[in-house]
């Protein structure tokens, strides 16, 4: 039986940050779609100022179709991929309580640095901040390194994480045990950081044994690698 996801943000501002390649964008996009499907207004901000590849800006059409508002850097995915912060961000601090604003932040302390300029506004408004991490990423594979990366992000963003998200997977070779094997590792990190686990995350296509995992965000992933055949989706089925 598929697990549930009971966790919901308790503030209108939700920040998703973590180590490079930990799955921040996947978690952000799928949380945005989930919250939107429950009728909330949702704005997703592509706040990645460090990496021009694999970013929320790639998902704009899908998000907008689902009714999620997106704010992406003016130059994202153009020839001028400049590390700019879109000025519209200031507008999200004026919205109502019926809206959730998700910041999809770039990797590590470098990616979170630009968030620091909004830390006063974000703190005043109240926020949840998720630390997304994977046991199979070598620089966060040791619990003390995972905690160290987290403290670096907090220092550079001048914000504090409120929850952890366990997105442990080993890409196409993810099997039944990949996520369960990371439960002990995650407990260690919870102990070191004194933070609660909000949920685990997994792509829908991974075959995972769910026993003992707790709540899981099931994510779709439409990334097609260059050598893969693009699936044909008939419009009549949608």
């Amino acid at each position: 039986m598929l697990p549930k996801l009971r966790w919901r943000p308790s503030h209108r501002i939700l920040i998703v940050a973590g180590h490079y390649g930990s799955g921040k964008t996947n978690v952000s996009v799928n949380l945005a779609l989930l919250l939107r499907s429950e009728g909330r207004k949702v704005t997703l901000i592509d706040f990645d100022t460090v990496n021009p590849y694999f970013r929320a800006a790639d998902n704009v059409a899908e998000l907008n179709d689902a009714g999620v508002k997106t704010i992406i850097p003016d130059y994202a995915n153009t020839n001028l991929d400049l590390p700019t912060v879109p000025p519209q961000i200031y507008s999200v601090f004026d919205g109502g309580e019926d809206e959730t604003v998700i910041f999809d932040v770039g990797g590590d302390d470098a990616g979170a640095a630009a968030l620091g300029m909004f830390s006063a506004l974000i703190s005043a408004s109240g926020y949840d901040m998720l630390y997304v991490l994977s046991m199979y990423r070598p620089l966060t594979a040791k619990p003390e390194d995972a905690a160290g990366c987290m403290y670096d992000i907090e220092a550079s963003s001048r914000l504090r994480f409120t929850h952890l998200v366990n997105n442990s997977n080993i890409g196409p070779e993810t099997d039944k045990n990949s996520l369960p094997d990371s439960v002990g590792w995650m407990s260690e990190i919870m102990k070191i950081t004194s933070l609660p686990l909000a949920f685990s995350a997994s792509l829908a296509r991974y075959d995972i044994s769910w026993d003992g995992i707790g709540d899981v965000l099931i994510m779709k992933d439409e990334t097609v690698r260059p050598w893969e055949i693009r699936p044909v989706i008939s419009k009549s089925l949608i």
Partner: protein, 352 residues
């Protein structure tokens, strides 16, 4: 050692460290900056040095200096940055020094684009530096191979006293795949009696130099080096074949493109076209004899690259123009799909 999930650029950096490279000199450029970033984090942990030079030119000259001491040393860049390194690379060749140079290619010419390309094939295989010079060129096609070839590159460089280029592209550098890395702490350096490590009055001076004012002396060093190149051509050719045994049309592709072609071969076979794939792994030395043997039973070849056809001449020379050689490619940072390649297989009748 179990597998981890890494970006191609990270896998190059970590594998280099595990193969004894403790000196990295670089300058940032997309899509390879993660190599420098990773090195900046990891080198202090392992007692190594990561230095961001003031330009690509100073980085390659730092490589020259560090390599003179016999240490394993590397630099990395992307297409325009590699052009800047050209002079230094020729100096390193002329000084007979081993080192690793990584090119994570992007769209060109000029400042071009930041998307994947294979437009530096000519540069890498024919004239990475000026003069009678050559470097070994490895073309990995997965994150695992980026890690493995990084180790291989250092070993080959040490064995033949030559720079080695790892020729990757923006897709390989940026994508994440499971990878098994070499174990930590198992690297054993080989003896390098030529290294300039201080003679301590125990031996003659070792001199590392590429300047020979007397032309006859210079000619002797070049001829000696070409004897080593002949050894490399004899011993170090690497390639992979996929369904070439009964193939009517053989695709020739390397790097990321070879993976697209592999899928296209499957699509073609489903349609009853007997397709196969020949994948050079060393772009220099080029697998000439091996390609000629594979092509014997085929009726035609189709080269597929992310450029305007830079490998076509090497293929024609390898098979002595015995079969028609077609070409299909995208350039500037564009990637063909497997279906695009299938169309090219179906359409291509003639030679270019």
């Amino acid at each position: 050692m179990s597998k981890v999930l890494m970006k191609g650029n990270e896998a190059i950096a970590e594998s280099a460290i595990r193969h004894g490279c403790l000196h990295y000199f670089g300058y940032p450029i997309t899509p390879q900056t993660e190599i420098a970033e990773y090195m900046a984090k990891r080198m202090p942990q392992v007692g190594g040095l990561c230095l961001q030079a003031e330009s690509e030119i100073s980085a390659i000259n730092m490589v020259l200096g560090a390599a003179s001491t016999g240490e394993r040393v590397m630099t990395s860049s992307s297409s325009p940055g590699i052009s800047l390194k050209g002079e230094g690379i020729s100096y390193i060749v002329g000084s007979d020094l081993p080192c690793l140079i990584v090119n994570v290619q992007r769209g060109s010419p000029g400042l071009g684009s930041i998307q994947p390309s294979q437009q530096d094939y000519y540069q890498a295989t024919k004239a990475l530096g000026h003069g009678d010079s050559q470097v070994i060129v490895l073309a990995p096609s997965s994150v695992q191979e980026l890690a493995d070839h990084t180790g291989l590159a250092f070993d080959l460089g040490d064995r033949y006293r030559t720079p080695v280029m790892l020729l990757a592209d923006g897709a390989l550098g940026q994508m994440m795949e499971p990878v098994e890395l070499a174990p930590e702490g198992e690297f054993k350096p080989i003896d390098k009696p030529w290294a300039t490590t201080g003679h301590k009055n125990q031996r003659k001076h070792n001199i590392v130099n590429s300047l020979y004012i007397q032309p006859d002396e210079l000619e002797r060093t070049v001829i000696e080096r070409y004897q080593r190149y002949a050894e490399i051509e004899k011993n170090e050719v690497r390639y992979e074949e996929y369904l070439t045994d009964d193939a009517d049309v053989i695709l020739v592709a390397y790097g990321i493109t070879s993976r697209i072609c592999r899928t296209a071969v499957g699509l073609a076979r489903k349609k009853g076209i007997k397709a196969g794939l020949f994948r050079p792994i060393t772009l220099w030395p080029y697998p000439k004899k091996e390609l000629a043997a594979a092509a014997e039973k085929a009726s035609r070849l189709l080269v597929v690259e992310l450029n305007m056809g830079q490998m076509v001449d090497d293929v024609k020379v390898a098979i002595n123009c015995s079969k028609p050689v077609g070409f299909f490619g995208r350039t500037g940072g564009m990637m063909p799909t497997p279906e695009d390649v299938l169309k090219a297989i179906e359409k291509d009748g003639g030679a270019v």
